[in-house]
Symmetry: C2
Subunit: 507 residues, 2 copies
């Protein structure tokens, strides 16, 4: 290493570049930010969304921008403070107990801190030499988590990728290229006149899965939808008949996708049974565990994914139930060789000619991304600091809370439950009186919108069997039974009004 | 909003959860982190890579992990400090003038600070209601940057996505679905017996582009490679004949991809000429400007992308030449309606039934990602604070530096240049004497490896016309002419030795 004195060079920059890279200003702006984030995290008030008109927010954002003609721009501490305030106050309030609406989590603060390091040191993790520690801990976390999956430690593999949708796409590409080896080079046209390749999915599968058929040249018409049972799981007994019918229609299912659990209600498809059916027919079994794979780390809840060791691939979003910043998705393959099939190509400037001990860890050929954020770092840091106990404790609490909320609903005559919660997602309907299906649907949509606009709680909605239901996703361990009771009060407050006027047409 | 006193509930957590979410510990760990990052940013020493054996690094990382059986884990300040030290010291040193190897940038520190906010508040930006400010500023930045592209402000659109590879895939899906409307639903099989859909690319196109043919069911065999001229650009005069030949072979090119500039040497394809050819034949013109689109913000350099207003889509990585944390990729469409074609699907729980002023800003239907990092925030914050001058100044300096380094090489008899640098990428070869093509190739590979292992500088290599070349990418404005001279000295030091022994077989 040369001494730092040599670095004092003749850079051409004006004050602007010097200022933007000034270390003292970095420290100052970081302190401002930490103070504001600390205050935000300490605010345990119950609140939903501060929904603002886009045009109003656009004006506020524009007002914070330096106008080019005006004067030379520069660092402005007050402007930074205003930007952070606007950013924090208008966002989804994941750290508040009023936030019960989506699968995004209030990140463990330490995960955010480690992510901050990533943002500054900017090590992309697709290649070992660019981000050595991220590549090494990716292997470590793969081994740690595979303990709960149960695959052969020498044969399985794991990659990180930017979100569950991308992981599902990648897994289905690996499946397609494994089972339909001509597809990569020749394209889908090669399959004309033969049985058309098809993908079987649960009727409630995430939209990212069904659209892989459109993306990959399989064709969305070649999605075979498997009917659900009353628990909103794939109905095992009806799978074989549906696959047989598809075959008679000229389709050949090469991949079956199970959910663990579903996005809408958190239902876990019966992986063990489906694995048996898939194996009999030579079908690749992919499990979309974006939401629910994290239950594997809990001794109490692991059985929801019984049979996972028989699957071929598994999507696991750490940014959901492992509480890290998004995205941090893990894609596991039972057989690493098959994982290499997703993208078959080489490029001289990124893949070195002679693999060595360093390039063996490169993942650029196994993921969509070329430049990839070292997203494993926050997860590993939490795991290193707190072990799996942190995750297991929080997940067990949230799932128990969903069950207790379900019991509460059973005792309330003006509410109906839509399912028994298998995880931390609970869907239900407000039905204060006799209502048709259509009226019930409209009431839930109106209630959800009003609750959102009032800003005390944030919940979502989902259609179940064609009728809207209210949906809570319990991602915050600060939410208690009591908060859920307050939510029901809120729903009744807005719901009675809607029910009287709009649904029963009092006006 | 309810008062905070209500939030004091009966959570079931043990000390572990309380500790992990403790605000005081968040402040403390942030301070430790800011101090370490500040020290890292202040270190201007010239250094390359501290390349470590993966097995050694694995042991070091494992040593920092709490063993489950041992005792209850907990927050440990010393462990955090050790994690950050290990992370920072083993990474690619993007903030050092010794880093000249890749297109990752030393981020502007303020961009990292804003990204930190994103990591903690965790607002996904696919849906307006979840991340209001990111969605609004995405529109603002689209308008700001479109000033330099020149599309109809009412017709164009822009989305953010996780990396240039994903943006290229998304654009090509939009092109495929626009020009081959049966593909999404019916799949590639529908095109058997007709002309096979094909994609034309420059022979030096990024691997992410050519592999889209494999991903999307077009088939990699249906990639038509366009020959390059001596400047490593697509040779306009030879495009029409190659397309005609392809047509006679039964191919129908529906999309042509130009690079601005290429990954290997930073060459800009002649967009203006190609747009004319594409228009004549009804071909979608996509420009992969992952690296070079940022030159648009410079009045001096914009002409490299002459004709960009005639393209149909453009990939632009802000995490390269706009110096933000990765990933932050912008994908522009000239016609927003066509951008909606990339993924045709709806899902009730994410896309609301009746679009309103809020959901009109949702981008979930237009990107691969469902949960998407609010990656626009760091870029917007820099733009708001410093205006475009910051970017233009830095980019102009880096491109001028590449030209000056090129001039330096012309005066050195033991070096040969491989091209005239159109941007901040410069490729050249060390040739201290008469060498065959094969010897020249081996020498560059050996020099690159030795330079990397010595750890004073970090450079890359690339094959040009089948022979390896040394490649520098100048991403740091602290690099001067003098540093480049030091690099040449380093290359000579290791190169003479390699030349004597390995190439000329003295041993």
């Amino acid at each position: 290493m040369f001494g730092p004195q040599v670095a004092v060079g003749q850079t051409q920059d004006t004050g602007l570049l010097l200022e933007a890279f000034d270390v003292q200003l970095f420290r100052q702006s970081s302190e401002t930010t930490v103070a504001k984030l600390g205050k935000h995290l300490a605010d345990l008030s119950i609140r939903g969304l501060n929904l603002t008109e886009p045009s109003v927010l656009t004006r506020a954002a524009r007002a914070l921008m330096t106008r080019e003609k005006e004067h030379i721009a520069g660092y402005d501490e007050e402007k930074l403070a205003a930007i952070i305030d606007l950013y924090v106050s208008t966002g989804i309030q994941v750290h508040s107990p009023g936030y019960m609406g989506r699968q995004f989590s209030g990140t463990v603060p330490l995960a955010g801190v480690i992510d901050f390091v990533s943002s500054v040191v900017n090590q992309p993790s697709s290649f070992y030499e660019a981000g050595q520690l991220p590549n090494v801990v990716e292997r470590i976390m793969a081994d740690e988590l595979n303990q709960f999956i149960g695959w052969d430690p020498d044969r399985f593999s794991m990659i990180t990728t930017s979100g569950g949708s991308l992981a599902n796409l990648t897994a289905i590409l690996a499946a397609r290229n494994d089972r339909l080896p001509g597809f990569w080079l020749e394209g889908g046209a090669a399959y004309r006149g033969r049985a058309l390749p098809a993908i079987a999915v649960g009727d409630d599968v995430h939209y990212s899965v069904s659209r892989t058929a459109g993306i990959t040249g399989i064709g969305e018409h070649q999605i075979v939808r498997l009917p659900l049972n009353r628990r909103q799981q794939i109905d095992t007994a009806r799978v074989a008949p549906v696959l047989d019918t598809a075959e008679r229609r000229g389709l050949k299912v090469f991949c079956l996708v199970a959910s663990a659990g579903t996005t809408s209600v958190g239902a876990f498809d019966p992986i063990d049974d489906l694995a048996g059916l898939a194996a009999e027919r030579g079908i690749w079994l992919h499990v979309d565990g974006a939401h629910g794979a994290s239950l594997l780390v809990s001794d109490k809840l692991r059985r929801r994914l019984r049979g996972i060791e028989k699957a071929d691939s598994l999507t696991w979003d750490a940014h959901k139930m492992m509480f890290t910043p998004a995205p941090c998705t893990l894609l596991f393959y039972r057989d690493k060789e098959k994982g290499l099939n997703a993208f078959k190509q080489r490029a001289s400037y990124v893949f070195d000619e002679d693999p060595d001990v360093f390039t063996a860890l490169d993942s650029g050929g196994k993921t969509i991304e070329c430049t990839k954020r070292p997203m494993i770092m926050p997860l590993w840091a939490l795991w290193a600091m707190y072990g799996r106990a942190l995750f297991a404790e929080k997940i067990e609490y949230l799932c128990a809370l969903a069950r207790s909320a379900h019991r509460m609903l059973l005792a309330e005559p003006d509410f109906e439950t839509a399912h028994y919660p298998e995880s931390n997602i609970l869907c239900f309907r407000y039905r204060p009186g006799e209502l048709s299906r259509e009226e019930t649907h409209r009431l839930q949509v109106a209630v959800r919108d009003r609750v959102k606009h009032r800003g005390n709680f944030f919940i979502s909605k989902v259609d179940i069997d064609g009728v809207a239901a209210l949906r809570v996703v319990l991602m915050n361990h600060l939410i208690t039974h009591e908060h859920f009771r307050m939510l029901l009060t809120e729903i009744r407050t807005v719901g009675r009004d809607v029910y009287q006027r709009a649904v029963k047409g009092q006006g």
